[in-house]
């Protein structure tokens, strides 16, 4: 990877993405392929917001690469609680670790952090902004299930605040996918994201009703509509109810549809979908480890080797 940091999906070319996915496939097949290369490497996990999958999979990925992690812990137990700025926090942590994985509730936090440190920063979610490492594992899952060529992808739910959606849509433009965005009017894609998609020449349409597009889709990417986005409970129930899917909903879909979800889900995908051929969301979560191993392998490889993260010679460091 040519970049020092992974801040947004928009910085990734198709070649960048494919290099990570190819490396991830190698590591998936042989998790020991990179063992020992990172014996002395420490990755800092700085999560200013709760996380299960992202944090644990980065933790697992670093350890499977032979390195180790240091964890900032929760905000409540850290000096952030004392009013320390993010800039100060990351400058201190830079002294402890070889890379920083950052999740933060404010948009632009990872970008800011990257300006204050010399170690690689991975944006693991910045408010309603971006979540590019999630996108890499999403694309890995899509590639395994449906391939990445000539894709028609439906993305449904909270498109306004959904950072996984913003990153995924951006990356899908690199593959010239047809995109259908399905959401309530109040949770449409923000105009900054639309701006970038149009700028990239994306083929996209917006809908309020899944039925309009479901039969066309290769992939349906469902996201959670959060209660706190609505002024009152009734409004939330009314809207969220229209964007839930179950086995019956999917009767109108193609047999080879892939249903994905970044998780955690609440009730937007009924449990009766879990055992169907459609469901890919647990496999998707599992893919977080090899994909993040590949990503870290690219970012942490150090001088020179960083240019070629997919080097397969295994010939030392």
């Amino acid at each position: 990877m040519r970049h020092d940091h992974l801040l947004s999906a928009g910085q990734l070319t198709r070649e960048d993405i494919e290099a990570v996915l190819d490396r991830a496939a190698e590591l998936d097949a042989d998790p020991d392929a990179a063992a020992g290369r990172y014996d002395d490497t420490l990755l800092a996990l700085c999560f200013f917001e709760p996380s299960t999958r992202t944090k644990m999979s980065f933790d697992t990925a670093m350890k499977r690469l032979g390195g180790d992690t240091v964890d900032m812990g929760t905000v409540e137990s850290s000096s952030v609680k004392k009013g320390e700025s993010l800039a100060d926090t990351v400058r201190v942590i830079e002294g402890y670790a070889d890379g920083i994985v950052l999740r933060h509730p404010s948009e632009g936090a990872a970008k800011l952090a990257s300006q204050f440190v010399d170690v690689p920063v991975v944006n693991a979610g910045d408010g309603a902004g971006q979540h590019p490492s999630q996108t890499l594992l999403d694309l890995y899952t899509m590639r395994e299930r449906a391939g990445l060529d000539d894709l028609t992808v439906g993305i449904m739910g909270d498109l306004k605040y959904g950072r996984t959606v913003h990153s995924l849509a951006s990356a899908l433009t690199e593959f010239d996918a047809r995109m259908h965005f399905v959401s309530p009017e109040s949770l449409r894609l923000p105009r900054s994201v639309q701006f970038d998609l149009h700028d990239a020449g994306a083929r996209l349409r917006e809908h309020t009703d899944l039925d309009e597009v479901l039969p066309e889709l290769d992939v349906l990417y469902v996201t959670r509509i959060q209660r706190e986005r609505f002024p009152d409970e009734n409004e939330y129930q009314k809207v969220a109810g229209q964007y839930r899917i179950d086995a019956e909903t999917l009767e109108a879909a193609r047999d080879d549809l892939t249903v994905m979800h970044p998780l955690p889900r609440v009730d937007e995908i009924a449990p009766d979908v879990d055992d169907s051929e459609y469901a890919a969301y647990f496999a998707q979560a599992h893919n977080g480890v090899p994909v993040r191993m590949a990503l870290l392998d690219g970012l942490l490889a150090g001088d020179g080797a960083a240019d070629d993260p997919v080097a397969t010679d295994g010939g030392g460091r």
Binding site: S85, L86, A87, H104, P105, S106, E107, G108, A109, K111, L112, Q115, D126, G127, A128, G129, R191, S192, V193, F195, D196
Partner: protein, 155 residues
């Protein structure tokens, strides 16, 4: 520039800034983008929709005892691309600043996205890239097209 005094309708100033050739009707927005609302106590003269050979009609703003910085002039360009800025001392024009559309504006605007990290007491200046019809926060991506003057940082 040298219209007869009767057409300019505002008198010369001793010290300060004359912003001429503002797009007709934009004078109040120019003052807004500069954060001038009259409370500062400085003399402000405004001519709106006065005849102009170049623009048909134009606005003119004269601000006494205040010299605009290049940064402020740059931001001005987002609202009044044809504007000319003259710095006046002792009734003489001592500096003419060309208004050029900048590639970025740094530290002059606050991001309207309240959840942007630049609004969180961090030691960074805001930074906006200039896009086709507005500006865009380099941190959170927020695009501002209308009412840019409402987002001038306090300085």
């Amino acid at each position: 520039m040298s219209e007869p005094e009767r057409e300019l309708r505002v008198s010369k100033i001793r010290d300060g800034t004359v912003i001429d050739h503002i797009t007709g009707g934009q004078a109040l927005n120019v003052l807004a983008i500069l954060g001038i609302d009259g409370d500062e106590g400085v003399g402000v003269s405004i001519g709106m929709n006065v005849p102009s050979d170049k623009l048909g009609t134009k606005d003119v703003v004269k601000v006494e005892d205040r010299e605009l910085s290049q940064g402020e002039v740059d931001v001005l360009s987002l609202l009044a691309p044809e504007a000319t800025v003259n710095i006046v001392r002792e009734f003489e024009v001592v500096d003419k600043k060309r208004v050029e559309r900048p590639e970025r504006v740094v530290g002059l605007l606050t991001c309207p996205n309240h959840n942007c990290i630049t609004n969180a007491d961090e030691p960074v200046e805001s930074a906006f890239g200039v896009v086709d019809d507005g500006v865009r926060c380099e941190f959170c991506g927020e695009i501002v097209r209308e009412d840019i003057g409402d987002h001038l940082a306090v300085h």
